[in-house]
Subunit: 414 residues, 2 copies
Amino acid sequence: MPALIRAVSDSDSIRRQNRALVLATLRRCGPLARTNLAAETGLSHASITAISQDMLAQGVLTELREDGSDPMRIRGRPAVRIGFNRLAGSVVLIELEVNRTQFSLVDYGGTLIDRFELPLRPDEFRDVAPADFIAGQLALLRERNRREMRALLAIAISVQGILDRDGGHLKWSPIAHLADRPIAEDVAAAFRVPVTLHKRGRLLAEGSRWLDPDLRDASVATVFIGSTVAMGLTFRGETIGRGNEGATEFGHMNHLPGGALCRCGARGCIEAYAADYAILRAAYSVPETAPPAASVPASQYEGLIARAGAGDRNTRHAFNMAGRAIGYGLSRVISLFDATHVRIVGPGARAYHLMRAEIEAALAASLVGRIAGLPAIAPQIDEKNAVFRGLMMKTLMRLDEEHFASLPSAAATA
Amino acid sequence: MPALIRAVSDSDSIRRQNRALVLATLRRCGPLARTNLAAETGLSHASITAISQDMLAQGVLTELREDGSDPMRIRGRPAVRIGFNRLAGSVVLIELEVNRTQFSLVDYGGTLIDRFELPLRPDEFRDVAPADFIAGQLALLRERNRREMRALLAIAISVQGILDRDGGHLKWSPIAHLADRPIAEDVAAAFRVPVTLHKRGRLLAEGSRWLDPDLRDASVATVFIGSTVAMGLTFRGETIGRGNEGATEFGHMNHLPGGALCRCGARGCIEAYAADYAILRAAYSVPETAPPAASVPASQYEGLIARAGAGDRNTRHAFNMAGRAIGYGLSRVISLFDATHVRIVGPGARAYHLMRAEIEAALAASLVGRIAGLPAIAPQIDEKNAVFRGLMMKTLMRLDEEHFASLPSAAATA
DNA sequence: AGTTCTTTTTTCGAGCATCGAAATTAATGC
DNA sequence: GCATTAATTTCGATGCTCGAAAAAAGAACT
């Protein structure tokens, strides 16, 4: 129930909402016959006919001609499934991370058309404006996919760091020289499509919801542990906060006042105990006030896990401290929002068994943990695509809602 | 944008939404002429006429005949203002607190009709079922207000403690013997009206939003400091979470692992540093592992503030530690949700000047505090009515939305 | 007292999206 | 070729909003 910022409702808003409902259902279930669409949405068959005719005429949806033999069919008129018209448009999804970046071109149906990945030099953005870097790569993408890029409808960029309340501007980022540079505006101006920035941690939550159906309507805290620590929260199936407000900065939530030195410069952040560099530091008994390593290769992190597995006391202790930081962090989170599920993702998921005892102990020590019970915690090893998936679904569903659901009726246009 | 749990939209939902819009506007602005109502809601004059005629006929709204001379009026047809029909129904609002309880009878227009307050014995609910206690007081209220109680539409109860996810059941409470007893069900059965439970901390946030127009659309953390510590969060003008899920348990959020002993039995809760009993304990150098005092009289707490003001080192230190706990707690909260405003309410608001430096230092030490800037923090001394106000607005607006906005049209009935 | 002006409120017809029920379509089975 | 079955469309009704024009209710002016 929106509280005060209500809008007038009229036949046009009904139209938009029901069209959006149809599109959301197709995103969730894949192509469906009109009959199933009616059952799934709760709309009458008559309305589904009207809506689908309209959107077929507009080229938003398309009928799937599946002449492939269908041995299961029994009798009656065969169902014709309807799905997204892949030609309706395309979007570019960009993932900017500390040392790599990935560009993906996806059509309206969610099919990957082209993709490439680049390493990112630490000083990349010192000399080149981020927007120019992106524009350059997009030009490349356009070379290779002229047709699809002509139908470009949106560009969405996943970034790490702190966005301002409107989500249009990066105020701080672990990616060097990236914060406080105009990105969305400049790219939007060059390509004449809307450009949105998204916080990586939230996309992770969004993405794991799409990858694991159990989580779809649950309240989930998705914790990424790797070279940073991040969290996305969903609440009964909705990502918390609209837009980019309310993005969580779990990694830089304080764990111990005046504690270990974090890459962000503050003391006692969770990240300063649980990120890869923190484990490295503790495992080799480097003082926790020592400046963090610039980066920890994946292989080295794996090595630390192995060392702990082999029984090395210092390394085990390092992971214990990490678990304690994560656990108390989670206990603080559930004091504010009672998550029913916790998913640990990223490289740190492989070290979950080393942290588990401390995580559970910390949660059990809190009032909410005792009363409401512990959330179901599980590592999720294979989440490589979660960010991409989240970015894609978010972007496509935004198109569904804001663009395609509100097209004027085809009849009116004709 | 609701993500997946969408509902079909039809002309009936338009009807409901626009009626709810009209009612919400009247709650916000008070009685309005039809013309102003149209301007304020964005609905056409024609629709406002239709809607108001309908709701006048149903007795939901009523025309205010204000024949009082109106020297300001210039020309033209005089405007007739429309307001809530006070006879449309009434609600009982119950505030259960650790040592007192208050019963208020309010009509649909929000006018207080009757009220009484009782002290609550610590063992009150050991011998008497909470529902029986409440039913007894309600019977009394009925004696005194036969007419209004016949039109009773809802009972809403403010409680302290942890509610389950559906908000129907109290799982833990600082009020002795109150948790895990059937309350809502039994009272509902006895009086045949819906009974809802509300967490006090959230009502505080809801109420201060209504009392301070600046906060109406802001993201606010309202912190209560007194015999307990509690927090309500609003997010761009909406209370976080629907229903009772997501209720914050700020007072029992961990501050220091293994720290001071809290009334809840856990160690290191914020409350164990910042509630009145914690100040008392620290001011007299009682070990922080000593069991908390059962209750601290208001006068004694005032005495502690005075003592600190007079320069007593131990007491000053006690308030500093409290500020530190609150400050780090807030820094953790804003790492998850960037509040723009913080309001300190309750008895502790009078001690704000003693805690302020530590609160601000803690916030400034966090990444989010540094990057996004500190929220505007201010004590709000006079909040006596905030809980009542929040409870009332929440309950009446719920009636607006769920009951009166969805009545079938008067024409259809006739 | 009557007329003009101004502002509020209502009336009227059109537009549009939904719905239920009935009709139509396109296959299978015999 | 004809009955059966299931998917889809057509049709008329309903209910809500809206814009424009009309009606209502006083104040101001002559």
